[in-house]
Symmetry: C2
Subunit: 632 residues, 2 copies
Amino acid sequence: MEQITVRFQPSGRQVRVALGTSIAEAARSAGIHINNLCGGEGVCGECRVRVIKGDYEMESSAESFFSDDELEQGYVLACQSKILGDIEIDIPLESTIEEAKILKDEIQEQAVHGLITENVSYPIKPLARKIYLELSPPTHDDNITDLERISRELRKKIGWHSYDISLDCLRTISTTLRESDWKITATVVKDKNRYRIQQVEPYNTVDKNFGIAVDVGTTTVVAQIVDLRTGEVIASEGVPNKQAQYGEDVISRMIFACQKDGLEPIHNAIIENINELIDMLINGKDIDRSHINAMVAAGNTTMSHLLLNLSPCSIRLEPYVPTADVYPQIYAKDLSININPGAIIEVIPSVASYVGGDIVAGVMVCGIPDNSEVQGLIDIGTNGEIAIGNEEWLVCCSASAGPAFEGGGTRCGMRATKGAIEKIEIRDGNVKYQTIGNASPRGICGSGLIDCIYELVKNGIIGSTGKFNRDLKDPRITYEDDIPQYIIAYGDETDSGDPIVITELDIDNLIKSKGAVFAAIKSLVDYIGLGFDQLERFYVAGGFGNYLNIRKAINIGLLPDIPEERIAFIGNSSLSGARMSLISEAAFEKCISIAKSMTNIELSVYQPFMDEYVAALFLPHTDKRLFPSVDY
Amino acid sequence: MEQITVRFQPSGRQVRVALGTSIAEAARSAGIHINNLCGGEGVCGECRVRVIKGDYEMESSAESFFSDDELEQGYVLACQSKILGDIEIDIPLESTIEEAKILKDEIQEQAVHGLITENVSYPIKPLARKIYLELSPPTHDDNITDLERISRELRKKIGWHSYDISLDCLRTISTTLRESDWKITATVVKDKNRYRIQQVEPYNTVDKNFGIAVDVGTTTVVAQIVDLRTGEVIASEGVPNKQAQYGEDVISRMIFACQKDGLEPIHNAIIENINELIDMLINGKDIDRSHINAMVAAGNTTMSHLLLNLSPCSIRLEPYVPTADVYPQIYAKDLSININPGAIIEVIPSVASYVGGDIVAGVMVCGIPDNSEVQGLIDIGTNGEIAIGNEEWLVCCSASAGPAFEGGGTRCGMRATKGAIEKIEIRDGNVKYQTIGNASPRGICGSGLIDCIYELVKNGIIGSTGKFNRDLKDPRITYEDDIPQYIIAYGDETDSGDPIVITELDIDNLIKSKGAVFAAIKSLVDYIGLGFDQLERFYVAGGFGNYLNIRKAINIGLLPDIPEERIAFIGNSSLSGARMSLISEAAFEKCISIAKSMTNIELSVYQPFMDEYVAALFLPHTDKRLFPSVDY
């Protein structure tokens, strides 16, 4: 069949497809997301694109979505239009908005369908399993103990283990068995190589078994409630980390915690966070908190320590030693988490003081140790944590990125929540932007800031050093105390009435952040003697929001300049990893083996890192040969 | 060398020894205890015996212990007298008193010297071990976590295990390590196949590691405090079980516990008992209760359930099913035991509803499963529990003996404490008795009651049915409401001023008790198809006191009529087993394997038991052929 070439703007990406393919199909082949709410039925009108040049044919029923003017300009619905020859197509910002939602949904899909990521799959076998048992009542010939009777049936159903039991649970079984006619549901948990009966309930309650996955971020704490029977995510919520009142970043919180009586309040703050999230997650739903039987938390090493009320003091001081990297399994009551008091809590193990369970969870989610190809993961939060490896080896490092990409440290930065500008395009002096939830803009989140820097440098508004071109006569450029700033949204467009701007200082902060991240990636790749081109896959995770424009992230020198299709934004992989661990024993055990096998490179004592950092404080980089594809 | 014959009275036992052997030595050869406080130095004067006929030579220095009259009558010190030909010797009651103390000491000896009983030895490796570690401080090249640093050193010292840690302990290690210059003492406990770091203390505290062994008896609760480093018993104490206020015997306590809100007070009572015992044990000693790191309790199945606050209700009802037979390891704080809150508590596992951890502990102590010969153990408390077996098989049963042998259910019965008459001899209408602690008599304990019945029947005061010979004119026989009773101690001899008597009703109760015990032994032996003569060794344990006259116990038909030297009284083997388990992991693990492998024969549904019981309600038995050696 005849092949024709399709070129998409503004990315410039090209793809070869068969003649007669739909534009939507061609975009999918090119790896470009176009909204697809109705599943290609031509009824939602969300996949509007504009044919710049070339032949096409659109179903006539789709014409009703457009004005005559628009039809004349070449606007079509991508799903209803066939390509009839080489063609160039512009995809407006608004037609890719839905991507955010899709990314979230994809993660949910993974959970439902046996936890499949691109490279790895785990069976659903939650950390707290409920097993329904119908026992035969005791007789003179079969008068084993109540506990042994339950264990015997469990062995038949889930394996020949020796079943431990908690004293609290043991105290209930005699009555429960006899009052429920020997029909019970046992909640079984695993702690390393041992199984424990954690709860015995009357009759069949297997459909009431929930778990909480938590990403304990320095800036944001995100949690999900999951149906442990199906793996389905029921709800997700995020709140700012209440520890911020004791210090904005990890270091200042450690300093606070190490003062006299400092640990308790900072520990309590994160417990309050989690309890608040749990309240939000179950609010309005038919879920009793006593049916929440497990929780898995992932976070950086300091956050994990503070969650468990462990002193973080030695993490901060040379030679950077944490109290522990693998944490004991504990009960909800030990941490005053308001779920079933006997629910188990697992914290994803860390690797080192500055490589935490969040990156371990991410490495597990990406399946890096399950593949022969070399793959990398960078998780950009307040710290940038990087892991590279394959089935034979794993190395990692971390660098302080600052809070810029999470919305901190910039004038109008904000977390990726409703009203955050997450996409920006500047063309011909006009600014187009997209906010999360289509709300009035309230600020700019990480992905918006990346777009912003790229758009500013591409349009010549700032130079490679991040300084404004003061010769420009652009009404969006204003000055405050002689510091230039660029207006992304005028006051009449915003929620507060104040304009949303990005200042030269903001840009300076952002360049430092991206410089640190890139220098860390470069140092690690150099350390192991690889070139960027040997990274077959590079995963990007972080709290940018639900969206990241990878091309623009390369263009500002944040990510290495490798073929775009090798890079995948995977959202909050710390949360995904916590959730997968909650739902699959094997996934949690994989996290433990990752944490134990990963080698940490301490950049603070690795000489070349500082040089790399300085070299990276330009857009895209002082050494442009590292970014051959960058077009400005 | 010429052998001569020595005959001892009142037992009539004979032994052949070399000419020139000391009387003390000859008595030892015959298995007869004579006091030996000074170790045979001739200075304590406690081994007074009387030579009835035959030649002997006493060191002249020993003469100062006797009046001329006494010397004339043949009184000598056994340790200072050589036998010069066939001889007959009378051993007065007072010269064997010390036996009680000796039995206690022997048990202590076992504990100190690697826990050697007659048949079995275990290495000292307590359930909570303290290990002193001098760690190298972390460096950049050696910056493993604090926990891993401790674990690494533990692996060098005590084995390549994966060390778990409790959260409470984990919270302390960062500070402790740094404040004690990396010199610490780790308390390590084992829970099934896993090791856990339970406590980390600054500097070297290995000499401060104590444990509590408890025998939770229905009538009496006895505890010892043990130095876990050496195995040495530091103190022993006993108190009446406070649960008695809710019911005298096991059944009535179960009934109480199964009423609404009945379990809690009966559970609290035993916790109060143990806390009171601990107070007594450490009183006046340089022992901090925070250094008590482990406790092992043994008791019958109901006592074990009540200790753990487990419902005993199904134990009482057909088909007699306990909640559990193997109990989880728990912490002292879980039971509000006033020792180190993180101290571990283990309860010796049970076999069935009426065969508890007390008998399991005893079987372990006797080494029954470690020998090819068939051996038996009977533990006579409120219940009589019997186990028989060898290295290939173990069977057990139990029968209600009533509280008579523990001092309950008889007019002047009492526990084996100070002032209890523990030995009685009646000769020519005179009563000689010995009290515990040489105190004024307050009552009669189990061993005294056994002596008493034997002496009464031997002297023709009662007949084989236990009824008094009403034709006798003996001033010690009096009547109350036409029920005859025999005065053991007149009012002017006793502590209270009231006479101490044994009534016909008491004797009737005691015969029922001994009948039940013997019937149980006989039933079990018959069940497995053995004869009594095939019992190579028969151990007798129980709360009689520290002493039991085995010959008299056979003579009243309580114990089977096998050669006396095959029977050994081993005191409180439940307590010994708890203590051995506390001091030796291997001993505790042996208890678990015993509990799992022992087959329980339920006598309540075993038809022949009732017939055996009725046949045993005589002195010594309706079938005198079963007791060929009995001399009345």
